[in-house]
Symmetry: C2
Subunit: 297 residues, 2 copies
């Protein structure tokens, strides 16, 4: 609970709490404006995600992949935005790529992304977070199940579920190299996780998350009615998903790296307050406090 009043999504308490979502999934009053059609809007609302086979052209993929390689080929000194694999110097993620890189800034502002995000969220949008992820293969670890909203609400003060993420494949994402898994329909349930947030939790949680993960019982119930969806697709494909859709990924022992760019759009009517369940704000490279709307079209 904060100065803003009742916390509709309590988490990080003594016990796990499982409650229904209190926010709409699709905020637009009409789908008429596009670019998503009515069937896509319905699917997003039902499943909590939507897949696009060819969001980027092959030429664009090459362009963005080169930039990804440039950014991940070395970690500059003490910059916290570069995250390495546990026990290694291999770069796993680079955050705030829309500020670090003009190339990714252009992608983040691309009307194909911004238009879809605006349509779901029903307002102007701004970039809440951006990052590139590299899962290099030969045993790179995955990421355990979590709801991004749970973390962003607890640790960053994101008030409502009015935030969507694009994960865009820059290498082929196939059935064997640790692709993203989503639990269809899970966005309709909020799992408030047990256990207090440690100080400076983000320093370890970006390598391997512990606080903010659901119990085995809660996960089993979420997966009971709908089969887990494995997000496979060629480079250039993309997934748009709701901030509360439960997701995770396995490890990658294949020789094929899996690289993605991840851009999070938030409604300008849902800007950050103070963390709902953490001792202090996280750095702005994880949770932007620049709420300037993106121009559209």
């Amino acid at each position: 609970m904060t100065a803003t009043g009742i916390d509709r999504y309590p988490t990080r308490g003594r016990a796990e709490t499982v409650i229904p979502r209190a926010d709409p999934v699709v905020w637009a009053e009409t789908a008429a404006a596009g670019p998503l059609d009515a069937a896509e809007i319905t699917a997003f609302e039902r499943d909590g995600f939507l897949a696009f086979d060819d969001l980027l052209t092959a030429g664009e993929v090459g362009h963005y992949r080169s930039e990804l390689h440039r950014l991940t080929s070395h970690r500059p000194g003490a910059d916290e935005r570069w995250i390495t694999e546990p026990g290694s110097q291999d770069v796993k993620s680079v955050f705030e790529v829309h500020k670090i890189s003009e190339v990714f800034a252009r992608l983040a502002a691309d009307p194909r992304l911004v238009g879809r995000a605006r349509q779901i969220l029903g307002t102007d949008v701004y970039i809440h977070q951006s990052r590139i992820n590299v899962k290099r293969g030969f045993g790179a670890s995955g990421f355990y199940w979590h709801s991004d909203f749970e973390t962003w609400h607890a640790e960053d003060g994101l008030p409502a579920m009015r935030t969507v993420s694009f994960s865009i494949a820059l290498t082929d994402n196939d059935a064997t190299n640790g692709s993203l898994m989503l639990v269809p329909g899970s966005h309709q349930t909020f799992v408030g996780c047990a256990g207090a947030t440690p100080n400076d939790n983000y320093r370890t949680s970006l390598q391997m998350q512990e606080a903010g993960t659901p119990s085995e019982g809660a996960l089993t119930r979420l997966c009971d009615s709908r089969a887990i969806h494995l997000c496979t697709g060629r480079a250039g494909s993309a997934i748009l998903f709701d901030c509360n859709t439960m997701h995770g990924s396995g490890d990658n022992i294949t020789p094929s790296p899996r690289s993605n760019v991840f851009i999070v759009y938030n409604s300008i009517d849902n800007t950050l307050t103070e963390p709902f369940a953490a001792p202090a704000r996280r750095p702005t490279f994880l949770a932007a406090h620049d709420f300037t709307p993106l121009p559209y079209p």
Copy 2:
């Protein structure tokens, strides 16, 4: 090199060596006898494995799964044949189930398995190893890439590549719960692995293998020409694979456990000698020295 002469498959030396297979894949002179037809024999020879959609009936699956649950629900005292997850008391594997359990003894002697193994290997066969594997979900670890033959040759004295394994699914094996991955065609290449075998290596290698794993370069070359095959299938499906087919599996973060029974048949013309590259024999629950042929039909 041992008393039996030249070692055709040197391994665990100072450097990795990659050489062509020196043995046939299919040893039978004619496929006329069945139960595998000519197309299946050809596919096995080319790929190093063969999948069967419904080897067991649903009733049989229930019967064997009950027995699996009985055997894995507790670990009896100091019995080395029960292997637990790293850092846990959860049972990951139970070895020598054809001796521990009358139920699995009957499965191992089943003509549907024995007949196919005899046909590939061209002689009477005996059980080299048997085990049940449980990958319980919620983060159970996988198994890194390896050739069973490399281990069995180095550590158990298996002379030739004249051995096949059945992996039979007792739960659904799907795209998300850490199913077996095979590299098609890899059985035609022997990767002699770098690094000496530690004393009592099996005590740790059954939890997580380190000695006897191929380099990233060798794996990349094996996977270059053929896409990795993910072995999905309903409970009751099975994979028959050559002892030198490179295989591994990722972790399983889903709530769906993956349980399999694994039975290895060796030709009675290929019985064990002394280890080719290890300080001492491993226990017989890993590598049988009872070479009694299985009756057939």
